[in-house]
C-alpha cells in the first residue's frame, strides 16, 4: 500500500510537467498582454520596454519556461505582474475559502442526495420515485448561475434577506462567515446533489438485485439493515468516485458561483488573473489546481480499499 502511494505520487511529476507546459503555452497564445493593462492610456514605448525587461518577457520562450518551472519546484511561485505581491500566500488564503465552500457544498449535497437516492430506489417506479428523479434532473440540468440568481432574487424580494457584504474569515467571525458562505454552498450543493442522487439510486438498486441480499433477508434482517448496512455500503464505490470528481472540481474554484456571491476564492483569483494576462498567477494557480485534483483522485483510490476489501493495491 505504501509503495503504491509513493508510486502514485511519483506519477504526479510527468502529469504536472505536461500541465505546466500546456498552460504556459496557452498563456502565450492569448492575445493582449499584461503591460497594456498596466500602462493604460499612458502607453509609451519607453515604459513598455522597461516592463518587458522587468518581467523577463524579452527572453526566449524555452528559457522563460525553464526559469519559471525551476522556481516553482523550489517552492517559489513568483510575484504577480500586476500587484507585485507574492503569489503563493495569496493562493493559499484563497484556497482556504474555496476549501470551506467545497466542504459545505459537499455536505449539503450528501444530506440531500443520499437519503433521496435511497428512497427513490426503494420506492422505484412510484410517484415518490418520479418526484425525486425530476428533482435530480433539475439538479443536473439547471446551470448554477441561474439557480444562484433565482435564489438571491427570491430571498431578497420575498424575505428581504440580504447576505452580509464583504468577506469575513471563519475564524474572525464564524457567524457572519457562515452567513456569507451558506448561499453559495446551497447553490453548489443542490446542483451537485442531482447526479449523486441518480448515482445512489442506480447503485442501491444494482446491489438489491444481487443474490446475497436474499441471504441477508433469509437470516431475518430488517429492511433497514438490508438497505443501510448492506446495499448502501456495497453501492458506495461509484458514489465515492462521483463525489471525488465533484470535490476535485470544486476545489479548483467555482468561478461563476464565487463571482455571483463575491466570494474571494481560487476561481475568482484565476479569472481576474486571466483577464489581466497576469501570466505567473494563472500558471501557478492552474498548476496548483491540477495538483489538488490529482491528490483528490489518489485519496478516492485509497478510500476504495476501505470500502471494498476485494480492492488491494500492490
Amino acid at each position: 500500500m505504501r509503495s503504491y502511494i509513493i508510486r502514485r505520487i511519483l506519477m504526479l511529476i510527468p502529469v504536472l510537467i505536461g500541465i505546466s507546459l500546456c498552460i504556459f503555452l496557452i498563456m502565450q497564445l492569448i492575445p493582449g498582454d499584461v503591460i497594456s493593462g498596466l500602462l493604460g492610456i499612458e502607453e509609451n514605448p519607453e515604459l513598455r520596454a522597461q516592463y518587458v525587461i522587468k518581467f523577463g518577457l524579452d527572453q526566449p520562450l524555452p528559457k522563460r519556461y525553464i526559469d519559471w518551472i525551476t522556481n516553482v519546484l523550489k517552492g517559489d511561485f513568483g510575484t504577480s505582474f500586476r500587484t507585485d505581491k507574492e503569489i503563493f500566500p495569496e493562493m493559499m488564503s484563497r484556497f482556504k475559502i474555496t476549501f470551506q465552500l467545497t466542504i459545505m457544498a459537499a455536505m449539503i449535497s450528501w444530506i440531500i442526495a443520499i437519503p433521496l437516492g435511497i428512497i427513490s430506489a426503494l420506492k422505484r417506479n412510484t410517484w415518490v420515485d418520479a418526484v425525486v428523479r425530476f428533482i435530480a434532473l433539475l439538479g443536473v440540468s439547471v446551470p448554477n448561475f441561474a439557480f444562484a440568481t433565482l435564489l438571491i432574487l427570491f430571498l431578497s424580494l420575498k424575505f428581504q434577506y440580504y447576505p452580509p457584504v464583504g468577506y469575513v474569515g471563519f475564524f474572525e467571525n464564524a457567524k457572519v462567515n457562515l452567513q456569507i458562505m451558506i448561499l453559495p454552498a446551497i447553490v453548489l450543493g443542490t446542483i451537485m446533489s442531482g447526479s449523486v442522487m441518480r448515482m445512489t439510486r442506480s447503485s442501491v438498486l444494482e446491489v438489491l438485485r444481487q443474490d446475497f441480499i436474499k441471504t441477508i433477508r433469509a437470516k431475518g434482517a430488517s429492511e433497514r439493515v438490508v438497505i443501510f448496512v448492506h446495499a448502501l455500503r456495497n453501492g458506495l464505490i461509484p458514489i465515492i468516485t462521483l463525489i471525488g470528481m465533484q470535490i476535485g472540481g470544486l476545489l479548483g474554484g467555482t468561478v461563476i458561483t464565487e463571482q455571483i456571491f463575491s466570494i474571494p476564492g481560487l476561481g475568482q483569483m484565476v479569472l481576474t488573473a486571466i483577464n489581466q494576462r497576469d501570466y505567473p498567477v494563472v500558471q501557478g494557480c492552474i498548476l496548483f489546481i491540477a495538483f489538488i485534483y490529482v491528490m483528490v483522485n489518489l485519496i478516492v483510490d485509497i478510500l476504495y480499499t476501505y470500502v471494498d476489501p476485494r480492492i488491494t493495491y500492490k
Binding site: 446475497f212 433477508r217 433469509a218 434482517a221
Partner: protein, 329 residues
C-alpha cells in the same frame, strides 16, 4: 409422523402487464418433523419459487395468490402467508433457514465471514459479542472448516465455493432452525465437493434435529439425502412418494423419463436418453395433462382433461390418467 410444514393449495403468480400468469398451481405437500423432503424437477418447474414462498421471500413480479403454508414450531402454529413483515422476520433464520445455489454470490463481499455469521445471531438473540464470536467459531468447526479462527477474519472472495457453501450452512444452522431449505445446494460445486456437502448436511440434520427440504434437479442427490420426494412438472406435483418407491416403483411417465435420463458408466454404446419436447411455458398451459405432448404413454383423454393428483398406493400419489379409474375410456 407429525408435520412441521404443511403447504396447502399454494398458488404463485407472475405479474405481467398482460395479466397474471400462474407459475405454481395448487401445490400441496407436507414435510414431517426431522424428515428430509426432496423436491425434484427440471429448471423452471417452480421448485425454487415454492421454497422462496415458504420464507415469504418472493419479490415483485412474483406473488403468492392463494393457499396456506402452515408452519408448526414448538410454541405455535402459524400460516406463513398471513404473517406481517415483522412477524415473518422472527421466523426467517431462526425457525426456517435457507441455503442457496451459488455460494460464491450468496455472501456479502465486503464483510468478514465472522460478521456474516454473527449477523444471524444478532437478529434473533441477545448474546454479547464475545459469546456470538465463540458460537460462530464453534459452528465453523462443526461444518468442517479447517483453521476456523483465521477463516472468521477472511472475506468471501478469499475462499473456495465448497468452503463458502459450508459457511452458508453454518450461517443457516447457527440459530438451530427447525427447518432448513436447501435450494440446489450442490449444483454450483464440483462432484467431490458435492458429496462432502451432502454428507455434511446428512450429519448435521441428525445432530441438529432439523427437517430439510432439498430442492434439486439431480436424482442422485435425492437418492442420497431424502426420505420423501415430490416430482414437480410445470408448476404442479406429478408424483409424490417415499424415495425407495420412487426409484423402484415409478408411476408417472415423466419420472420414468427422468430416471432413464440418468447416465451410467460403462454403457457407452447408447446415446443419452432424453425426454423429447419442452416444458410448456408459464401462462400457456394446455387444458389437458401438462406432460401430454412429451409423454410416451399418452391416451386420448390426456389431451382433453387434466388428471388429478390421486393416491395410487399407500403414501404414493400420482397425477396421471394411467392410474385413474376414469382414465379407462
Amino acid at each position: 409422523m407429525e408435520n412441521i410444514l404443511e403447504v396447502k393449495n399454494l398458488n404463485i403468480d407472475l405479474i405481467t402487464e398482460k395479466g397474471n400468469k400462474k407459475l405454481i398451481d395448487n401445490v400441496s405437500f407436507n414435510v414431517g418433523k426431522k424428515q428430509s423432503y426432496g423436491i425434484v424437477g427440471e429448471s423452471g418447474c417452480g421448485k425454487s419459487i415454492t421454497a422462496l414462498a415458504v420464507m415469504q421471500l418472493l419479490s415483485f413480479p412474483l406473488k403468492t395468490s392463494g393457499g396456506e403454508i402452515n408452519f408448526h414450531s414448538e410454541k405455535e402454529s402459524v400460516n406463513i402467508l398471513s404473517l406481517k413483515k415483522n412477524e415473518i422476520r422472527k421466523i426467517r433464520g431462526k425457525e426456517i433457514s435457507m441455503i442457496f445455489q451459488e455460494p460464491m454470490t450468496a455472501l456479502d463481499p465486503i464483510f468478514t465471514i465472522e460478521r456474516q455469521i454473527i449477523e444471524a445471531l444478532k437478529f434473533h438473540t441477545d448474546l454479547n459479542k464475545k459469546d456470538m464470536s465463540d458460537m460462530a467459531l464453534q459452528m465453523l468447526k462443526k461444518v468442517g472448516i479447517p483453521r476456523a479462527e483465521e477463516i472468521l477474519k477472511e472475506y468471501p472472495h478469499q475462499l473456495s465455493g465448497g468452503m463458502l457453501q459450508r459457511i452458508m450452512i453454518a450461517i443457516a444452522l447457527i440459530c438451530k432452525p427447525k427447518l432448513l431449505i436447501a435450494d440446489e445446494p450442490t449444483t454450483a460445486l464440483d462432484v467431490t465437493i458435492q458429496a462432502q456437502i451432502l454428507d455434511l448436511m446428512n450429519e448435521l440434520k441428525t445432530s441438529f434435529d432439523t427437517s430439510i427440504i432439498m430442492i434439486t434437479h439431480d436424482l442422485g442427490v435425492i437418492a442420497e439425502t431424502c426420505e420423501k420426494v415430490a416430482v414437480f412438472y410445470a408448476g404442479q406435483i406429478v408424483e409424490e412418494t417415499d424415495v425407495v418407491t420412487l426409484f423402484h416403483n415409478t408411476a408417472h411417465p415423466y419420472t420414468s423419463g427422468l430416471l432413464k435420463a440418468v447416465t451410467s458408466l460403462g454403457d457407452k454404446s447408447k446415446n443419452l436418453f432424453t425426454i423429447p419436447g419442452m416444458v410448456p411455458a408459464g401462462g400457456h398451459m394446455p387444458k389437458g395433462c401438462r406432460f401430454e405432448e412429451r409423454c410416451n404413454k399418452k391416451m386420448k383423454i390426456c389431451k382433453d382433461k387434466s388428471p388429478e393428483l390421486i393416491e395410487i398406493a399407500d403414501g404414493h400419489k400420482c397425477r396421471c390418467w394411467l392410474y385413474a379409474e376414469s382414465g379407462d375410456n
